[in-house]
């Protein structure tokens, strides 16, 4: 069994949305008690719809945000309470790639300075060494060395994302947290970047936390996957288990909602009723019960426990709770 590179235990994060006239505050519970572990060298993906808390989780893991509760263990150290100075050496080991390749690169900096900025912070390299390293990195991610002197705005979206990847790669991190790295890109460019990410993983033994809403992309790139809904994990499993035997009704609906680029394949579709509830006021009991096609009475009252039902396959659903379902043995699937 591989040791986990990163382990997240009972993470909570809320944001204040509104301070009322009388001083009462409303909170969005963006991440509400999630736990998972990522092993060295694997790609773990968080997938879910908008507002499910997947991006917040990514920022908690990289400690761009501080959790209200819970722990983040990275390489055997609990980094959840580290201050900026303590985090700095850890940041060398974990880098991020952002969704928006247009906004995540400083428009006033040259490409070589963007790519080598982490080196300036974390190493004692001279500026000439950094420049040399930066041009090498550009070649690694499929750009040319003559791009180094240009500014980011002269590049297309896909090229900019390559620059962002080169920046993340510069300090040879062990973990890269990629927050929707391809969702702003055109399809033909998307596959280029996905292939690049896979090649780099192989070459440098990287571990990825991949955050995305696109189930097809997630399936392609991941080893293990966690499905999030309204701030909580509802199911985690290996890729094949999750896509072949999704257990949670939400995962099932999500998978059946994906349009298939094959007109000969007409599949039965589970169409969920209603909208995603607001995370300011999440439903009682199981968060998904307002839209669940197999909702039972107990789901409205008691929040299901996130438990392992098969080896390495966890799910938070009363349907798989033997203490509840065991008696009559009803199994809806």
């Amino acid at each position: 069994m591989n040791t986990p590179l990163i382990e997240v235990k009972g993470l909570h994060k809320s944001f204040v949305v509104k301070k009322g006239f009388l001083g009462e505050s409303k909170y969005v519970r963006a991440v509400d008690g999630i736990s998972f572990a990522i092993r060295k060298g694997e790609t773990f993906s968080l997938v879910g719809e908008s507002g499910c808390g997947k991006s917040t989780t990514g920022r908690l893991v990289t400690r761009l945000l501080k959790p209200n509760e819970g722990e983040v263990w990275f390489n055997g150290q609990n980094i959840s309470a580290y201050n900026d100075n303590q985090m700095r050496p850890v940041r060398k080991e974990m880098q991020m790639v952002f969704q928006d390749p247009y906004a995540s690169l400083n428009p006033r900096m040259k490409v070589k300075d963007i790519v080598s900025e982490p080196l300036l912070i974390h190493t004692k390299m001279s500026s000439r060494e950094r420049d040399k390293f930066a041009t090498e990195l550009l070649e690694v991610v499929g750009l040319s060395s003559y791009h180094a002197e240009r500014h980011a705005h002269e590049f297309s979206g896909g090229q900019r994302q390559r620059i962002g990847i080169a920046r993340a790669l510069s300090v040879r991190p062990s973990l890269i947290v990629a927050d929707e790295p391809v969702s702003a890109l055109d399809v033909s460019i998307q596959s280029q970047v996905l292939n690049l990410l896979q090649d780099l993983q192989e070459e440098y033994g990287l571990t990825y936390l991949f955050i995305s809403h696109d189930l097809s992309v997630v399936e392609h790139i991941s080893d293990r996957i966690g499905v999030m809904y309204l701030g909580a994990l509802v199911e985690t499993a290996g890729k094949d288990a999750l896509y072949d035997r999704p257990l949670h009704p939400y995962t099932q609906a999500l998978l059946s909602s994906v349009p298939v680029a094959d007109p000969s394949q007409k599949k039965e579709r589970i169409i969920l009723k209603g909208d995603i509830p607001s995370p300011v006021n999440p439903p009682s009991g199981c968060r998904f019960h307002t839209r669940c096609p197999s909702c039972m009475d107990i789901c409205k009252q008691i929040q299901p426990v996130f438990q392992e039902v098969e080896p390495d396959h966890r799910v938070a659903c009363h349907l798989y709770d033997e203490t509840i379902m065991g008696k009559d043995g009803v199994h809806i699937n």
């Binding site: 399809v187 280029q192 399936e219 680029a261």
Partner: protein, 340 residues
Amino acid sequence: MTANKLLEVDGLKTEFKRDGGSITAVDGVNFHINKGEVLGLVGESGCGKSVTSLSIMRLLKDTPGKISGGAVRFEGSDLTKLKESDMRRIRGKDMAMIFQEPMTSLNPVLRIGKQLEEPIRLHLGYNRKKAREHAIQTLKLVGIPRAEELVDDYPHQLSGGMRQRVMIAMAMSCHPKLIIADEPTTALDVTIQAQILDLMRRLKEEKDMGMLLITHDLGVVAEMCDRVVVMYAGRVVEEASVKDLFEQPQHPYTKGLIRSVPKLRQNVRRLESISGNVPDLSRMPAGCKFAPRCPFVMEKCLSAEPDLVAVEGRTDRKSRCWLTQIDERGGETVHEYSAD
């Protein structure tokens, strides 16, 4: 056959003024939509698919763009030649549009009901009371619960999915013959997208409308469309029925596009991808616009641009590629260009 054509776009050319010069965003686009048919218009950003839809609706007035050639025939009459006042009568009544981002296309300070009633009163000549009833009816048609209460809400009180339903209700309210939907589900979550696509499919069947569905998502195309037009760099590069397109794509761009999308349960180690980037419209390559990225590029492709011609003599199957044209004539080239 012509009688069956609801909309015919014939050699449409749209130019944008920019920095003193002008660039051609849409260059000689041809396609048609039959009655009750869903035509998909597919392509990546900057391929001109949105400009095409705005040109059809003649909504380029507030932009630096201008239709500079070709015709758009709707039930036989050329829309590009109509007076603005006549066009207004068609827009919203016979032809309606659904946009990607409903929040920007709905007026934030007007109640939903008011926004719906306006075109109803204008186009159908109903009085206020009857228009309101009709608005509520239409909202129910698009699956909005508590429609009677919702007409008095403002757009920001609704969720993204609900707003898109309202947009569809607005488009549907005057019983259009053609709906132009520009990336109608791109801004939505996947479970909400499934709801909206389901709704659009149902409405299209019930009302027997034609639909032009503009999207970059091949999955949406496969599920919704009867026929597909693929655009690249302002041109149509391929036209086919949805089945033919996915089973036997002809143009190398279409092939690359289909193969570069990861599909569920497909389990490939590596995705195929199209190398390079979409060309800048102001610095287009000579010859075939896809040539610099094409894996099958030949010398001829770099100097001369192929026409969009029927494949294997079929009228419903067209491709803009020298490869298919050479194959057809047994190695002979169709056009002679002096190569430099």
